[in-house]
Amino acid sequence: MSDMRLSTARRGLGRFFAFFRGRALDRELEAEMAAHLAMAIDENMERGMTAVEARRQALLRFGGVDQAKNRHREARSIMSVEILMQDLKYTVRTLFRDPGFTIVAVLILGLGIGANVAVFSVVNTLMLRPLPFPNAHELVWIAPPPTKCGLSCATYSTDAYDEFRVGTRSFQDVTGYFAFSSAGNLALKMGDAPTPATSIDVIANFFDVLGVQPAMGRLFRAEDGRNGASPVVVITDAWWRRQFNADKAIVGKSYDINGQQTTVIGVLPANFDFGAVFSPGAKVDAITPLNL
């Protein structure tokens, strides 16, 4: 019994490796055929044939070495497809015989794999992938210890920010963004109906701290965030393409955004994705300067 199971296992392994071992199997067949011919020649010579005649007769009876090799190969490949189908049929039959088990097994596997993929994609985005900025290793995220009272406890007041910025000796600069923006908080009026989009307010030194360079135009300067500054906006590459038809002359143009004539001062590079870095899943179209 155990012998049989052993040989079944061996055959299974043999099939598995045969799939990757086409050339090795060819070589084995060649050795086998060479042995065959040698034995035939020996036998023919024992019957008194000359070496040449013995060889000729042996080859004649064998009937084409290449032909035999091709047939062997053919049999092998047809068999592997056939066996695969057999195995598949057997698997499906077995699974259908016990639908309860099958459903539970499929669900467990599905959920397990799904959960792994979900967790990994988050971990990969948040922790494994380096930040898409130059000198990313010099960047740190400053946050209060986690609490349960939501975003208000995970953010700092502008006073606290000012303190940090003035008082820090560990960092070259400190920046921040307004975390309470909601999707569709921006209304762009180009025709009759306003188009909703999503913008994030950032402190004027935001891009300087991250080391982001504009693809076109310029990014924010300190004066853009001051009282009475004329309204400006920096747009993402995706929004520039989608909404503005990749207008090469967009820098300097003004649009009615939230009822204010706002000048587009720059376009961000395509690899800048605010959502991917700061709030996974969020789609941000435009960045506006935060007036502290």
């Binding site: 086998e32 065959h36 034995m39 036998e43 009876r61 009937g63 047939r71 053919e74 068999m79 592997s80």
Partner: protein
């Protein structure tokens, strides 16, 4: 018998190989081919090379097993032996073959007198 050799029907070579291994025990490809030629009194047209496609088919189905070994004349060769599954398959196929040849015999042996007999 006609002077021309018999062409092998599809599948009959596999059955011959199984039977040969069942009777003779472990054998190499050349031995199997020679044995079939001898038993059939050289009436079948057997290109000895075709035996290897048959052997790989049978082996993949699990009806025979193979091992490299050294026969009496000190030449390395691959030896084949029938498995338990192969013996079962052989019994099945032999019975099927027996029925088929029986039917063929009866049909071909039918003479005109038989037709007139009441059923």
């Amino acid at each position: 018998m006609s002077p021309e050799k018999l062409d092998l029907l599809q599948g009959t070579l596999d059955l011959m190989v199984l039977q040969t291994l069942a009777v003779m025990g472990s054998m190499h490809g050349y031995g199997i081919a020679r044995r079939i030629e001898q038993v059939s009194a050289d009436e079948v047209l057997l290109n000895q090379g075709t035996i290897y496609a048959s052997l790989v088919r049978l082996e993949q189905r699990g009806w025979i097993d193979s091992n490299w070994g050294v026969p009496g004349n000190n030449r390395k060769a691959k030896f084949y032996a029938i498995t338990e599954a192969g013996k079962r398959k052989l019994a099945e196929e032999a019975a099927h073959w027996g029925r088929l040849t029986g039917v063929m015999d009866r049909v071909l042996g039918m003479d005109s007198g038989a037709e007139e007999e009441p059923a």
